[in-house]
Amino acid sequence: MGGQKKGGARVSEDAEEQSPQRLQAILLADSFATKFRPVTLERPKVLLPIVNVPMIGYTLAWLEYAGIEEVFVFCCAHAIQIIEYLEKSEWYSHPNLVVRTIESHKSISAGDALRYMYEQQAETSQIQGDFVLVSGDTVSNMPLADLIQEHRERKKKDEKAIMTMAIKQSKSSSLTHQSRLGTDQLFIAVDPLTKQLLHYEEDKIDHPRGSVCLDKSLLESNPSVLVSNDMQDCYIDICSPEVLSLFEDNFDYQHLRRHFVKGVLVDDIMGYKIFTHEIHSSYAARIDNFRSYDTVSKDIIQRWTYPYVPDINFSGNRPLKLGRQGIYRACDAVLSRSADVGASSVIGYGTKIGDGVKILNSVIGNGCSIGSNVVIEGSYIWNNVTIEDGCEIRNAIVCDGVKIRAGAVLEPGVVLSFNVVVGRDFVVPAYSKVSLLQQPTTEDSDEELEYADSSSGTADHLSGLNLQMESKASELGPDGAGYIWEVCEGAHDEEWKHSVAPIPKDKLAEITQAIDDDDTDDESVVPTSGELKSDADSINTDMNDPNDDYCYFEKEVEGTVLRAVEENIKVDLVTLEINGLRLSYNMESADCAGATFYSMMKLAVDTPHNSASELYKNAASIITKWKELLGFYVKKIDEQIEVIMKFEEMCQEPPKELGPLFTQILHLLYDKDVLQEDAILRWAEEKAGADETDKVYLKQCETFIQWLKEASEEEDEDDEDEEDDD
């Protein structure tokens, strides 16, 4: 427990009178994600500056403004840095807001953090009632008092209403299915009257069509359901104490949304309910990835977050002067006369800018020095960065203490972590992430790195690093320092989605092209939002394509047969199993016959063999052994015909090994009494009218059929003879 100062226990009395409980908040000062790597290896995410103020400053200022009286700051990674920051900041001695820190190094997810809070709760009972759950990277100016009141009243009426989450309208891009904040498109279903959350689903990339599956029972139990895809989850939740115990009970809940919300929605036994609250006029957003870092920065500069804007001192920051076109400038910034500072730019204290510099849409921190003829566009330069003459920086993030030597170029999407040095005239390729620390090699060590006790950790890495640096010449030019991180496999395509850089034009064109292609197949128009009545029939329920089902069924049967052969299971049992499958997939016994035969033949083909005769031997042995199983399903003529058709199909499949053996195996099946002559003859009759191409096998076994016909005639005669004998 670091520094639990009772700094400002004096809470204004009238606030106390208004509400019986203290308004409390839990602030998760760790995102439990790795999206801000490599920057977060050296500094916790909540302390990263956004428009020159650490993110947590925005969150705390907003919580204070919204009337929260006590905040528990939950620190995980780099806890010491966070506590140090808070101790130095005004927040520890704030008259209206008591800030307490909670340290835990074991927690690796939001779920763990809340479980830890719950354990603490047993000892100290810090959380007295409903609380606000936010993460330390939230930028908002929404009023909370009404929302908390609403939640409390609802809770009084309905014990099960344990959480209210704030949502905000934000249209997602029709092309990339991605919100402004770079998160995946969100589908939610809400009861329009009670605002109860019924369904929550984040659209994944493999699902670009924008379809959503709702449970039928949802429509049965609710007279109307509002499904929308233009909502953004603000990750601001008003929770009742039950939420903590729910996390304790369900130890596998890790993620607040993916596990907890979905878990609560699915669970009918406890019957807990989650409600939504749509905010309209105020702003709320969470900085989840580099894209949202860019977007939220722009929103702050555009003053959507008022009064948390750079020209107001809201969190111990020195206010900047706001000029025309949204240019914020520190009063002591030194600008050359020929420097051109364009719209929506921020220039921090003590920054020097040389001749002919062009700055547009960028944020430049405190104490930077920028040489002459530098171009900076859409970039975020943090504090004490040195940029030498003639550099070009576009859509990049440059952390504290970086040196960019003359003539270097940063291509869009580059992230330079702390103290990196970019060599002279070096071109840093697009989307690369550069750090003085080497990229953790495996995923496991990866986890440890970020969540290890980082106070000593960072120093260790750095000392170890110096050794490595000498052995390996820098990847950033001869006079540079830093490692370019490899992009993780699979994530390469995604890189543009979450980067600070705007989506490149060719990528957009590609997506547009893809969508156009899709449009020719079928229309994929999804209305942004619409109300569905329960009698509407347009809902895509669990009904799947029957063809798909047959494939699955066939595979299952194949697996079963294979297992039966390997483990030498009794025929009865296998029959039982296949029957079970038949019922569960809603198949007919003809399908079973086909599938069983298919799997038997497949087994024969898969068994190693050198020649056709060997293959025949294999097939013969299998058929002989398992004819009973097959026999169970081929009791009717139709089923037998199905088997022959299946066989024919198989013969046509590559590698066509079975083709030449068609007649032989057919004969074998006849001999073993699996197939009756009627079936074969009927099949022959059916095929007689087919195309020439289809008749290949019919011709192959012409003689056999001829023989069959004769035999049957003979038999008939025999029968007659026998009858005569009687």
């Binding site: 004096r10 204004s12 200022a61 204070e64 403004y65 008259p95 209206n96 100016n141 905000k168 309208q169 934000s170 249209k171 891009s173 402004r180 770079g182 233009d230 309209h280 006029s281 105020s282 702003y283 894209r291 860019d294 977007t295 722009k298 929103d299 555009q302 003053r303 959507w304 977050t305 008022y306 009064p307 804007v309 107001i312 001192n313 809201f314 706001l322 949204g326 719209a343 929506s344 850089a501 705007p502 989506i503 034009k505 957009l508």
Partner: protein, 409 residues
């Protein structure tokens, strides 16, 4: 002491977060805070006035820095400083009147008076002389003729003078008396600020006549009281209220006016020009009145003023004395505007697809300024709690309220 400190911190915090709005409320809070600062300030035996001034200035600087846009804070701080200086002066003069002997230190003062002085001059004369050298004589002081009047401005040269004199005066009684008098003066200021609406409203009957049409924009408590006062005096007139986009405070004003039985019509801001020909007088409330007679008011006011000028309609500005700002708007530091959140203009959700997707295409920008500046030549009349004034007279009025030393804090 920590009590005052935390009170200051809390108020600073409120100002910073823009939690407190409206110049009257801000002014009142500020003056009440300053009163408690003064009453808690320990005064040394020597230099009491300077100690008080320092304390008030220190707090004042914090407050002004917290929200430089709210000029009323600075105004009130300067008023309080002025009161301290003035009380100090009157005390010294009173003390000196009781003394037959003059200290040699008076000579410094006389030197300052550029040769007017004689060795055996009364303090009152000294003060009057100081005043006459540093300021043009005001009509008021000329008419009153008595230099002891409360409106006597005071300058630093006299401050130095009082310091030295206080040594010879009866220290203990003086100390108590100064603080007491200052608090008394601040109390008067509080009363003045809270009573300014009534003072202004009393004059309504002289300005609003039967069957007139009055136009106003946005919402101002002063304007509301003014109109209602005229209504109470059985004047019948009509009011047009321009709604004051984007905050639409005009709607609230219209509601209040109707509740009080006035004939009210709401128009859009953009309809002001169309309606102005039917209007007999435009009355608006100011955010601040600058020393040159220019007005900072709610956004859209300049347009209304131009329309009034075009149609020769009197443009009347109501302002309590706490809104009189001793600064000139040439200074970019002073002509501040507050850009508020664009969400007052348009809905973020609806427009979220135009607000930069990272697609690099042009994105929508929204600017939402709070204030407008009306140059003095468009203003016909100011009505303050002391009566009606010409824009060109504002500098004079301001000189009566503020001491020249406090202009830069």
């Amino acid at each position: 002491m920590p009590d005052v400190q935390s009170m200051v911190a809390e108020f600073v915090n409120k100002l910073r977060k823009r939690k407190i709005e409206g110049s009257q409320a801000t002014a009142k809070c500020t003056v009440e805070l300053l009163r408690s600062v003064i009453s808690h300030q320990r005064v040394p035996h020597a230099n009491q006035a300077a100690a008080l001034i320092d304390a008030v200035k220190a707090v004042g600087q914090q407050l002004v820095a917290a929200n430089p846009v709210e000029l009323a804070v600075g105004n009130v701080v300067r008023r309080v400083l002025h009161i301290i200086r003035e009380e100090d002066l009157s005390l010294t003069t009173a003390a000196m009147a009781g003394l037959d002997l003059l200290d040699a230190s008076d000579d410094d003062d006389i030197d300052n008076c550029k040769g007017i002085g004689y060795p055996a001059m009364s303090a009152a004369v000294v003060a009057a002389a100081a005043r006459s050298t540093l300021r043009p004589p005001s009509l008021q002081t000329l008419l009153e003729g008595t230099p002891e009047s409360a409106t006597v401005p005071y300058t630093s040269s006299s401050g130095a003078d009082s310091e030295s004199k206080s040594k010879s005066a009866d220290k203990s009684s003086l100390t108590r008396k100064l603080k007491h008098d200052v608090i008394e003066g601040v109390n008067q200021l509080i009363q003045e600020i809270s009573g300014c609406h009534e003072q202004i409203a009393e004059q309504a009957i002289e300005h609003i006549h039967q069957n007139e049409v009055i136009l106003t924009l946005g919402s101002s408590r002063t304007v509301l009281e003014f109109l209602c006062a005229a209504k109470e005096k059985k004047r019948s007139f009509r009011v047009f209220v321009a709604e004051g986009a984007p905050r639409y405070q005009g709607h609230l004003l219209a509601k209040e006016l109707v509740a009080r039985g006035l004939q009210t019509t709401v128009i859009t801001d953009s309809a002001v020009f169309a309606m102005i020909s039917r209007v007999n007088m435009v009355i608006i409330g100011a955010h601040a009145v600058m020393a040159n007679g220019g007005v900072i008011g709610p956004v859209g006011v300049n347009m209304a003023a131009l329309a009034a000028k075009k149609h020769a309609v009197p443009f009347v500005v109501l302002a309590g004395s706490h809104k009189l700002c001793p600064l000139y708007p040439h200074n970019p530091e002073v002509l501040l505007n507050e850009l508020r959140s664009p969400s007052e203009l348009l809905d973020f959700g609806e427009f979220s697809d135009c607000l930069d997707f990272g697609a690099g295409s042009g994105s929508l920008q929204v600017v939402n300024p709070t204030f407008d500046y009306v140059p003095p030549n468009l203003v016909s009349l100011f009505i303050t709690d002391t009566g009606g004034h010409n824009p060109s007279y504002m500098y004079r009025l301001i000189a009566d309220y503020y001491s020249a030393d406090d202009l830069v804090m």
